[in-house]
């Protein structure tokens, strides 16, 4: 074989696809021809460095934590707390309770909250009413999710942890407000309620009375007996 033929086989040789009699001829020529030896040695050396050398700087030690942190930050709040479904359910339920209390407090006097909400809903031009309505839809969704979560948790025999709820609840309320752009005046009473005595509220929510049928969304909205 001539050098020009051997050069045509460099790729196949470096890609490890040269075999059989062709490879034998290739190796034999390489042993005899200094020029091809040098050319191939240079390429093999370059390939060897590319394959094994590690000149790049190291990754930051906290790289994995940053990746996982960003992943967690992009997940919805209910999914971030998923590891303990019972705790998540209670947290969401407590949030729903605090939200409902905030609406009750913010609405005028001690009139039946449902009446106030209906009045507010009718005032479709009022931006605050729009915010309340959005928040109400969010609360209804939360209660549905929470009821399902509580049922599942109880059927699995899980217990409820309560010690970390106040801080988490405040965090969730802030998150809820950030997403729904609740007016500050409505947000503040909820935060105050979150730091208050929520335990009784939770108990009343977790164990619905026998007299209560499985509520429809409208019933949930209007009850406000929290």
């Amino acid at each position: 074989m001539k050098c020009s033929d051997i050069e045509q086989l460099f790729d196949a040789y470096l890609e490890r696809s040269l075999s059989g009699s062709l490879r034998l001829e290739f190796e034999a020529h390489r042993l005899r021809c200094r020029r091809c030896q040098q050319a191939l040695a240079m390429l093999e050396s370059a390939v060897h460095v590319i394959a094994h050398d590690r000149p790049e700087p190291g990754l930051s030690p906290d790289f994995t934590e940053r990746v996982m942190g960003e992943i967690r930050g992009r997940q919805p709040i209910w999914r971030r707390l998923r590891p303990n479904p019972a705790t998540v359910s209670v947290l969401l339920l407590a949030q729903a309770a605090a939200i409902a209390i905030a609406v009750m407090i913010f609405s005028q006097g001690r009139q039946p909250p449902s009446a106030d909400l209906r009045l507010v809903r009718d005032s479709s031009q009022d931006p605050a009413a729009e915010a309340v309505e959005r928040y109400e839809q969010f609360r209804e969704h939360v209660v549905r999710v929470v009821r399902a979560g509580i049922s599942r948790a109880l059927s699995e025999g899980r217990t409820v942890r309560a010690e970390s709820i106040p801080e988490d609840l405040a965090l969730m309320l802030r998150y809820g407000y950030a997403n729904l752009q609740l007016p500050e005046a409505l947000a503040r009473p909820s935060l105050e309620a979150a730091s208050g005595n929520w335990t009784g509220l939770l108990e009343s929510l977790v164990l619905p009375t026998a007299a209560e049928a499985e509520p429809s969304d409208a019933t949930l909205s209007d009850r406000h007996s929290l």
């Binding site: 790729d11 030896q37 240079m42 370059a46 390939v47 060897h48 094994h52 590690r54 992009r74």
Partner: protein, 199 residues
């Protein structure tokens, strides 16, 4: 990591198990970073791209098919993010910002070659590699460093396997031209292949 272990972790991650995905991150982060860094030649940018690639992979897990290796899919995402980044910074032509390169070397990895000649030759090789186009450089890195087949490389670079072979061929020709003109004799004198400092 074996394909079986990888498949198990991916399946768990697809069911929402973040800890399973953490294991995948730890398994592939160094290799992915090495690949991206070689393309971008900037430490912080390479870390950002790698982080974005992992996050994007997690968010797209539902669309991942076990027909391909997870690493192939991950490198595909990272390669495309790297190319987008290069296009934005207008360095797709393979130009090297030597000022930034010198800053980046402050955190460089271990020097493997102990002799001065071997160190110099190693630097020349990497400088030659840096003059390849992104596609040529990626093909070379994925083939020789990651051990991917031309078909797998084609999936990463979104091109047919025959085009990958063409890129490998052109890359080798270019390397031969860049390296051969200056140091042919020196290769043989140093007996590069027997340099145990690379092992």
């Amino acid at each position: 990591m074996s394909r079986q272990d990888e498949a198990r972790l991916v399946a768990r991650a697809q069911r929402g198990n973040a800890e399973a995905f953490r294991e995948l991150v730890d398994a592939y982060k160094d290799r992915l970073f090495a690949f991206v860094w070689r393309i971008l030649r900037n430490h912080h940018e390479a870390e950002d791209i790698c982080q974005s690639a992992f996050v994007k992979a997690y968010e797209s897990l539902a669309s991942y098919s076990s027909e391909y290796a997870f690493s192939t899919w991950l490198f595909t995402i990272a390669y495309r993010l790297s190319l987008n980044h290069l296009r934005k910074s207008r360095r797709a032509g393979g130009e090297i910002d030597f000022a930034r390169l010198s800053d980046d070397q402050a955190g460089a990895g271990e020097v493997l070659a102990s002799s001065e000649e071997a160190r110099r030759l190693r630097e020349m090789i990497w400088q030659a590699v840096d003059q390849l186009t992104p596609a040529q450089k990626s093909a070379v890195l994925l083939f020789y460093r990651e051990g991917m087949s031309c078909q797998e490389i084609g999936q990463v670079l979104d091109m047919p396997a025959v085009t990958v072979k063409s890129h490998l061929h052109r890359a080798r020709e270019k390397l031969r031209g860049l390296l051969g003109s200056a140091i042919v004799q020196e290769w043989m004198a140093v007996q590069w292949l027997n340099d145990s400092s690379l092992h």
